[in-house]
């Protein structure tokens, strides 16, 4: 249902969005490595932020797995109050998904994006219930200290085939969607 070109394109779009939105400082170093789905499913501790991009032909889920450990909290919510971490990380996930949405809009004119929702990481192994046509997980390391994970899940209702050109230099910071 999803062509290999489309899968590569989705992966490139995710990489670009993650590099652009998950890093808080331009000097930060981000390493994104693909991991087997079994490894991602085994990460039962912590929570995930779930966001959905819907179109007529597919829906795409971006799931960012995070632990509220000291290094993660220090990086993403340095000056924030304790209870605000999930809200701040949800906003960052929202920006990351928004960047993917912006890229996908070039190829699919009718798109809509949900607001983020925080779930237990134990929900991730049940993604197979959605019968995804594309499921890919990544380990993301920022400055060799902050470790989060991401899963991109696409369920297609019609054949999806496109080739994304993500080489264009981003001109703006994207649209901040309020939630």
């Amino acid at each position: 249902m999803i062509s290999s070109h489309a899968k590569d394109s989705i992966e490139r779009i995710f990489h670009k969005a993650a590099q652009a939105r998950l890093l808080l400082d331009s000097g930060d170093v981000c390493e994104i490595v693909a991991i087997p789905q079994g490894v991602a499913d085994a990460m039962s501790e912590g929570n995930v932020v779930v966001l959905t991009i819907s179109s007529i032909v597919f829906r795409l889920l971006l799931i960012l797995h995070f632990d509220e450990d000291a290094s993660t909290r220090e990086y993403f919510a340095k000056d924030a109050a304790n209870g605000a971490f999930q809200e701040i990380f949800s906003e960052i996930a929202n920006l990351c998904c928004g960047a993917m949405n912006q890229e996908l809009l070039q190829y699919f004119p009718d798109l809509g994006m949900s607001t983020p929702y925080v779930l237990s990481a134990r929900c991730v192994p049940h993604l197979s219930e959605l019968k995804p046509d594309y499921l890919s997980s990544y380990a993301i390391t920022i400055n060799q200290a902050v470790r989060i994970a991401a899963t991109v899940c696409v369920c297609a209702h019609q054949p999806v085939d496109f080739v994304a050109d993500v080489s264009a230099i981003e001109e703006s910071c994207g649209e901040l969607e309020l939630f």
Partner: protein, 240 residues
């Protein structure tokens, strides 16, 4: 002599008169000839003029016929043009009516698109219902955790009971069987609790993703309706 003179004079006069008459006749003949020649030239000239005028008359006649024919054709063309003009007028009138109707329909489409955008409120309502469902799920998670905690406590109690039964020796055999049965039931309850927890997590995921799909789809529809509204307004403004 005189008679001779008289005869001679008469003869001379007669000769002179004859000569004069002859000269006169010759002259008259010459004059007549000249006059005839001039007349003939005149006749020739007049004949040529007549032929030329006849040619001109024929030409004028032909031109007249051509003009009449052209006039007839022009009349026919005028009639056809008049008919065409009437048709164009009718078409213009119809086009103006159509334009008004299109403008009205464009206004209606824009109005409908604007009205349908209020569907976003419906999608938001569904999203709120999702929050309500997820709150119920969280409540079930907490109750399940409480149940799991109770089951773990029952396992410990059953283990203690087994230990106490062993201490009691033969008197405690029956109690040991009961304690073992309680431990088995606690283990089954624990399995059930884990399974229930998994079901709740699956339910969380499917509920969240389904409602997010509805929410995102709602935004997609709202954006499309905004485009339709903008296009209808543009079309309407162009018609006016």
């Amino acid at each position: 002599m005189i008679e001779q003179y008289c005869v001679a004079a008469l003869i001379g006069s007669a000769v002179t008169a004859g000569l004069a008459l002859l000269v006169h006749k010759v002259r008259s003949s010459k004059a007549m000839l000249r006059h005839d020649s001039a007349t003939e030239d005149r006749i020739n000239t007049l004949t040529q003029d007549h032929a030329h005028q006849s040619g001109l008359i024929d030409q004028r006649e032909q031109e007249k016929q051509e003009l009449e024919s052209l006039n007839l054709q022009l009349r026919e063309d005028l009639a056809a043009q008049s008919e065409l003009l009437d048709e164009v007028r009718m078409s213009l009138k119809t086009a103006v009516q159509d334009k008004d109707q299109w403008a009205y329909q464009a206004k209606q489409i824009a109005g409908e698109a604007l009205r349908l955008k209020s569907l976003a409120a419906t999608f938001e309502r569904w999203h709120e219902q999702m929050n309500s469902l997820m709150a119920q799920n969280r409540d079930m998670h907490e109750k399940n955790q409480e149940l799991s905690s109770i089951v773990r406590h029952v396992v410990i109690v059953s283990l203690n009971a087994s230990i106490e039964a062993a201490r009691a020796g033969s008197a405690g055999r029956g109690f040991a069987v009961v304690a073992s049965e309680v431990r088995t039931l606690a283990a089954r309850s624990e399995e059930l609790s884990k399974s229930y927890r998994d079901s709740l997590h699956r339910n969380d995921l499917t509920t969240t993703t389904t409602f997010q799909d509805i929410q995102a789809g709602g935004k997609m529809i709202s954006a499309s309706l905004s485009s339709v509204e903008a296009l209808a307004n543009q079309f309407q403004s162009k018609l006016h």
